[in-house]
Symmetry: C2
């Protein structure tokens, strides 16, 4: 199978972006990625746009994004896998190159979530599951879905509210070092624990914000990649899986089975094991989600995520630094953009271009863990320097 | 490059389907396709769902569809390319097999459009372009976009309202032979010409209806296809392209450039020419769209579509029968399902299973032409018996 590399990356500033529309927002990262790759836009024969939509007015976001970026005429589609839409876009673009369809493809993720009012947001996010049954009948909100998991994890493994708060504090510490992050301010455990309860045990500071933002990567075949870049970052493994729409049909609430399956497939394709990974991004839409990810990705055994966390092993200098870009919690979570943003961060890390946030590299392997809904979708991508 | 075949097809009844929700509607075609393929559901490692959404309540249609069909756990994503979403799903599923990701994949298209009221429909369809500029500022409705093309084509090539009506009459004639079609009743040219003007010269009977429906195909590698099926239908060519969001930026209004480019790529990949095609489906969301498709696909020269039509060459027995399933006009147009529905029809024709609507086969080649928006997206797929 032919090899595919990331040869260009771009990333907009995340936050409340009332200064741009969705096309302009996407363009910020597309321009940067295309310039970084040093590729002529005409060479880009496939553009995959990851976005949920519904938050903003455009119903055909892909064509609007392409027109503004001067990419009309390329083959294109929008893909959606809820909050994993960005990783789905990356996978679809990757597939199109491996299929021999094109030498160069662009995956862009974009979301503009702050155009709607707060109740609409709560409703839209709440629909990210089984709308007709669990949302409409039971009145479950999205934080409530993850609260079920948090309670179950606390009950079974002795995880505490302090543990969860620790993840938020870590996110903000690294967010403060990331000039593109929505929140660039450190916080304390007390601040998290004292914040309003959203769905116990999850509090305001256990939750990621609503965010506007975009991220883009240019992918190329091995031949093209070697011409364009001295540091192509290779896509070594792509795994993805899904789970039931209704949480009531899940077998347990201490981990996301879809993520376990997706990770298994990605490791197997890349022929690496969890211990080989130097740096990872994990989908911390809520703090409990990052904790479960440690376990689902095999960075530790089930139930031992808190141990890893308390020892500081998921910080820079630890065994497996996670979310040193601030994560969804502090960097922000423009849902369609997040998966691509994660790939941009891991590419920067593997290139050794992450500055103050750079992790030490051993094997030159990084991992992206991106979840849609409450494990309704899971995508795991493994990137490598070689 | 490895060969990929369609080994199973399924198709729901199209129409106003108040009897089912979106998951149940998709299941009708999924069950049929999986049974037709004779494959175990567990073998299906990738499910791509083509749907616009927005018309119905579920925000994560792919997971809802998969749960109902017992496919949770498969890798999945939703894809959207406006009214070409079904073809985009087919392409993404095809790519996943060529990439070596899986041996068997399912592409399903579904839409449930009649849940919203009529003004909401008009607005939703109108947004299928550049919402902020041409819809909001100029008040263009979707029929008005295609009316621009119709007027331009009439002006330049002498196309008449009767010519357009002829396409509608043809669609209804074949729709009357298709038990799954929304409209199974023949109409006359007088009926079309006397129907209310929607956007001159387009009248009510120049336009396809709003439809609920689903269609599904099972795809497999050559090895698996030969085990499962005596009549695998091979995907020989896939071409796709796009055009500007704003129609104001198009170079002309007598054809869809995206369709011309998509067709060129598909023919080139399949190594066939327009004259080799035995049967085609064309995206007749409005009658003018089918007429332009004859020319864009190279079935005749630019401006000579009316000649082909008047001579009856696009009917069964003619040079190139088009939309002998009733087309979008009579079969119905559940937007996300349409591209897959077209592939189902062409597969039936190439298998020789189209009954009263069967076209004579010479080279065993069929073509699917599926357009999103007003040529914002175009996908062309070439299928073959060998």
């Amino acid at each position: 199978m032919s090899r595919v590399a990331i040869v260009g990356i771009g990333h907009s500033r995340f936050g409340r972006r009332t200064d741009v529309n969705v096309g302009e927002l996407a363009f910020e990262s597309i321009k940067e990625a295309v310039d970084d790759a040093g590729v002529d836009r005409k060479e880009i024969k496939n553009v995959v746009v990851g976005t949920m939509g519904s938050w903003y007015e455009e119903l055909l976001p892909a064509v609007v994004v392409n027109e503004y970026a001067g990419l009309s005429g390329a083959g294109t589609m929008r893909v959606e896998a809820a909050c994993a839409s960005g990783s789905a876009a990356l996978k679809a673009a990757y597939n199109s190159i491996v299929s021999g369809e094109t030498d160069v493809a662009l995956a862009v993720g974009v979301e503009k979530m702050t155009e709607v009012d707060s109740p609409t947001s709560v409703e839209l996010i709440g629909r990210a599951g089984s709308y007709m049954w669990e949302f409409e009948n039971f009145g479950m909100t999205f934080p409530a879905y993850y609260a079920l998991y948090a309670v179950s994890h606390m009950n079974r493994y002795g995880t505490t509210e302090e543990d969860l708060a620790r993840i938020s504090v870590k996110a903000h510490r690294y967010g403060a070092m990331n000039p593109l992050a929505q929140f660039q301010k450190e916080i304390t455990i007390e601040k998290v624990l004292g914040s309003p309860v959203v769905a116990w045990p999850l509090k305001l500071y256990d939750a990621c914000p609503l965010t506007d933002g975009s991220a883009a990567v240019v992918l190329a075949t091995e031949d093209v990649a070697k011409k364009l870049s001295d540091t192509p970052i290779w896509i070594k493994g792509v795994g993805y899986s899904s789970d039931t729409a209704n949480l009531g049909r899940r077998s347990n609430y201490v981990g996301l089975e879809a993520a376990v399956r997706a990770a298994g497939r990605a490791y197997s394709m890349a022929k690496v094991s969890p211990g080989d990974i130097d740096v990872a991004t994990a989908h911390d839409c809520f703090t409990i989600a990052e904790l479960m990810a440690y376990e689902d990705l095999g960075f530790c055994r089930k139930g031992e995520g808190t141990k890893l966390l308390r020892e500081g092993q998921t910080e820079i200098g630890g065994k497996i630094p996670v979310n040193v870009d601030g994560g969804l919690k502090a960097k922000g979570h423009p849902v369609g953009a997040t998966g691509v943003s994660m790939a941009v961060e891991i590419t920067k890390q593997l290139r050794g271009e992450a500055g103050r946030r750079q992790v030490p590299l051993r094997k030159g392997l990084g991992l992206v863990h991106n979840v849609g809904g409450t494990g309704h979708y899971a995508y795991v991508t493994i990137l490598s320097r070689s």
